[in-house]
Symmetry: C2
Subunit: 328 residues, 2 copies
DNA sequence: GACCACCCTGCATACGCATGCAGGCATGCG
DNA sequence: CGCATGCCTGCATGCGTATGCAGGGTGGTC
């Protein structure tokens, strides 16, 4: 930078200003500096800038599993939004262990301006602890101590149940896991809606995660449940259920209707395309970034929670109940 | 750090050494410093460290599309490997535009110790340019100017063809796109193997990318081709082909056999599970990181190319050819 | 008992940029 | 024409660590 200054016949501080506060430098001076910089192939050193400013221009994103399309789509949106706002993204895959996630979060938080936690497997206490030591925003989860954006499930789930009820389904299996406990409860709304529309609910909950294999396992129990429709809490399980049913020789939506939640690309890479409760992942990601940047600007502002509306997208996996034998 | 030094009764430089070169400090001194650091909740400032060392402890990873499971799996492995080696991962999603990717690469390269390019859509010249301005390693691609790790396709593709030929298929459709041109050519080996085993080859190549939708489109052309088996160059297209065929009322592997390449989790989240040419993505990712770290250590070392063996994994999507009408 | 070698620690400075402050200049107003 | 008001720019210093160098101390050796 000193070299550029010399080449342009100005001081180092002017060069610095050209790059960080262009408006404070007269146009012709600026051009002269930029020209010199171009000639010398100079680019500001981010590390030095970070040290001097106390800001890295970097955001951290923690996800439990990069490969899960739900998180993959969030990563994609977050990355683009962050970059659009002039920030770089540091990514970390935490796995399912709360302790690991917490430790990683501390480490990543240290070298970024703020932390985005997508579907964290942590306790409220851990999240609070992190939020106290730096800007934090939650995506697809909620906790008292930090900003958050997540899907508001009640209305959407009611739509799902109504859709199924209208098709003539009177008994439904609902597959959910407990590892998503931080996600605002979907279950109560499901209960309520079932009561409202006179639908019997069979819950298939477990301490399991919402994986493909658990979906296959769940599918094995469906035929004996007497239900004619299945709601899976994300596309991984939904695919598992679909494969499980196919393997049994059952057809969707002929024998069973299937509804998923999230609406990642996987909802359409299967035949029949899945009817889903669409969750606006793009908005969630973008909103998460905005919340975090806002918190970075104003560390002491009031905490904001941002529930986003979901919507029912009817595709091919739901239809009128067929003649299910309900084999023992 | 100065505070910690005072609290521990040592100098700032000793504290620095405790964190960066622990072995050069006597054990009891070290303990005293660590204790003081713990008490004051001190953690070294990465930005300052980066400035002083000229190293950020950060690697950049560029992928064309985060959501594609192929890249998602690479991201996951790379992230873990990098972290295991004491580095943090900066992620960037480039999209398909070479220019964008190049610009992003320059930007990310500036703030990291090295760059990992997974399936880059850039020209050799661009890659060379990047490699000249900093450590670079390619994953799943090859270019003269940079270290690289990629799948060696010839042997594997031959196995695939042999497998299909052995099942009795004598005419095969091969779906590939040109956007993966940087991937070491698979086509010649396919041609050769087909010749070797007396199989007719119908190529369905295009300037298109290997997306789900293009797979569906390809499926429409399959029945009229007279072929009884399809090879799709990745799981996205394979899913598209599978869905397209299902939509036509054709069954896999009853009417058509289907083989995919890569073996991401998607190969098994479909029924029937896909027979695939397995590409060791985990090894590729880890190797990529190792190559890059090596290059960072030794910027002038000889360039290394690392082809990895692939292997045929037979699942459910291939079988003996059925009675295909070949409807006009 | 003297000397040498080595280990550990402190001192001083560099890393590259940002920014508060003050001074120089031009413009506008009275 | 003199002075006030801004606009630009340069000066000096700070950001938090790392590290070459030198000095003090220790143990070992002859």
């Amino acid at each position: 930078m000193t070299d550029v200054a010399r080449a342009a016949g100005v001081s180092q501080s002017t060069v610095s200003r050209v790059f960080s506060l262009p408006d404070t430098v007269r146009a012709d001076t600026r051009d002269r500096v930029l020209e010199a910089a171009r000639r010398l192939e100079f680019t500001p050193n981010p590390a030095a800038s970070a040290l001097a400013q106390g800001r890295t221009g970097t955001l951290g994103l923690l996800v439990p599993n990069v490969v899960n399309p739900y998180y993959a789509e969030i990563i994609k949106v977050v990355q683009h939004r962050a970059r659009a706002k002039g920030h770089t993204l540091v990514l970390a895959d935490t796995g399912d262990e709360p302790e690991d996630g917490f430790a990683l979060a501390r480490a990543v938080g240290r070298q970024t301006d703020g932390l985005l936690l997508a579907g964290p497997r942590m306790t409220d206490a851990m999240v609070g602890e992190l939020a106290r030591s730096g800007p934090v925003a939650l995506i697809g989860a909620e906790a008292p101590g930090a900003d958050s954006v997540y899907a508001e499930p009640a209305t959407g789930m009611r739509q799902v149940i109504r859709h199924l009820a209208a098709l003539g389904h009177s008994r439904i299996v609902y597959v959910d896991g407990t590892l998503t406990a931080r996600d605002p409860a979907c279950r109560q709304p499901v209960h309520d809606a079932c009561a409202e529309f006179g639908v019997d609910l069979v819950e298939q909950l477990g301490p399991f995660d919402l994986t493909f294999d658990n979906g296959v396992a769940a599918a094995d129990l469906v035929p004996t449940s007497g239900a004619t429709a299945v709601i899976a809490h994300n596309e991984m399980v939904a695919h598992g259920v679909a494969c499980g049913l196919a393997r049994q020789g059952r057809s969707v939506p002929g024998d069973f209707s299937l509804v998923s939640v999230d609406d990642t690309f996987m909802a359409r890479t299967i035949y029949p395309a899945l009817t889903v409760l669409h969750v606006p992942l793009d908005l969630m990601g973008a909103r998460g970034v905005d919340l975090l940047l806002h918190r970075i600007e104003d560390p002491d502002g009031a905490i904001r929670h941002s529930p986003l509306p979901t919507s029912l997208v009817v595709r091919e996996s739901t239809g009128r109940p067929g003649s299910v034998s309900g084999d023992v």
